[in-house]
Amino acid sequence: MAGQFKYGVSLYSFTEDFGSVMGLEEGFDHIADTGATGIEILGATHVTGYPEPPKAWLDRWFDLLDWHRLEPTNMCSWVDTKLRLGCSMTIEEGAAELERDLRLAHRLGFKFLRPKFGVIDQDLTPDPIWAPAVERVLDLAHKLDIVMNPEIHSPTPINHPVVHEYIHFIERTGTKNFALLIDTGIFQDRPLRGWQHELPEGDSEAAKIINGIHVDPEEFLGIAQYVSFIQAKFHYINDDLHDENIPWDKVIPVLKRAGYAGYLSSEYEGAREPWVAIDQVRRQQLLLRQLEQAYDAAPVAA
């Protein structure tokens, strides 16, 4: 039988709380109390003094990990290719952004780094410097034992040139330090409620984000061997423990059949108000566990 999922939570889930009604200590407490074993963060959001946290902050970080028995999972970072208006970033600068975050992630104990590359068009094609920049830091990532995993995120589906390029890179270099991170928002098959005001009207890309891009979960089987981490993106789980946007009852059996035994890291992205996320994350952690248990009790044949 394939392994079990590992359960984690991203501090990003608490974006509407963090910094105003929630600090790092409270975030750890909410995450650990779900029974999760892993914590995911955004470097530039959750690390005081990023990218060079002071010693007092580092001491506190490791104390909190020990106290709550959490392990660092994935650190999110950005390669801001449009840092200068009207100017591209060089390969050297791109590699330096990656190196900065690889070193910080390693210092904090992370095993995965999600770099988000700037894009050049409406199809969200990453700036072509991504490949040579990543190639320059593969040895460093290997030395630091970190897997860099860009996210496959709505509106980019699994079957898309961007994903094909990433897989081609993995095959060409033979690296074990670059892989795919799947954001489960790609499986969204029903519209988000209350998001219309967030995005420009009449924009076709915005419509995709509202309505979902309906990737068939079965498509995961074709890329499973390249997947290192899953952000369990969700937007709303109602009072009957029913997710109104992401079809978990279809997604979880596919992940199990694929033999996925990595992290499911809760990533709540819903109402733009504080005090909502804490219980939403608890609901999702319960829902995912129930579905995994149900599958294990009666596996569905492929």
């Binding site: 005081t48 801001d80 200068r84 590359f117």
Partner: protein
């Protein structure tokens, strides 16, 4: 800690010598969910009681330094970190009268991972806020 909303209550005040005010300030939380380098902020539009002041004329005071739009665009090594306050300086001769004012803010944030036509994307705030001293 921040107040939840973008425009903070504290920090809304007149600017310049008393009796010869040259404008007003309003304080913002970081207009992004991640700390960002200042060159990714392409200025801040402010509307007070219906009067519009564009991002080309307003400046930002961060860590005690003042950045106009050109300075911001060049500030690739300056970080507006989570937890830092920034104040917008809006030039307006005489400043604002003590009282409750209607404020609207659009912080123009460039996110390189968004498609080009969505850059910059305004991060909006709107509220009533109070100036105490003339």
């Amino acid at each position: 800690m921040y107040e939840f909303q973008l425009i903070q209550s504290t920090g809304f005040r007149n600017h310049g010598p008393q009796g010869a005010r040259d404008g007003f300030e309003l304080r913002l939380r970081l207009p992004n969910y991640r700390g960002m380098r200042l060159s990714l902020l392409d200025g801040i539009d402010v509307t007070v009681d219906g009067e519009f002041f564009g991002h080309e004329v307003n400046s930002l005071i961060l860590h005690g330094k003042t950045y106009d739009l050109e300075d911001m665009r060049k500030a690739t090594a300056v970080s507006w970190a989570m937890g830092d306050f920034g104040s917008v300086f809006v030039p307006k001769a005489g400043g604002l009268a003590p009282g409750i004012h209607h404020l609207k803010v659009a912080a123009r944030v460039r996110s390189p991972y968004f498609p080009p036509h969505l850059q910059p994307l305004p991060v909006n705030g709107e509220r009533l806020a109070t100036i105490i001293l003339p």
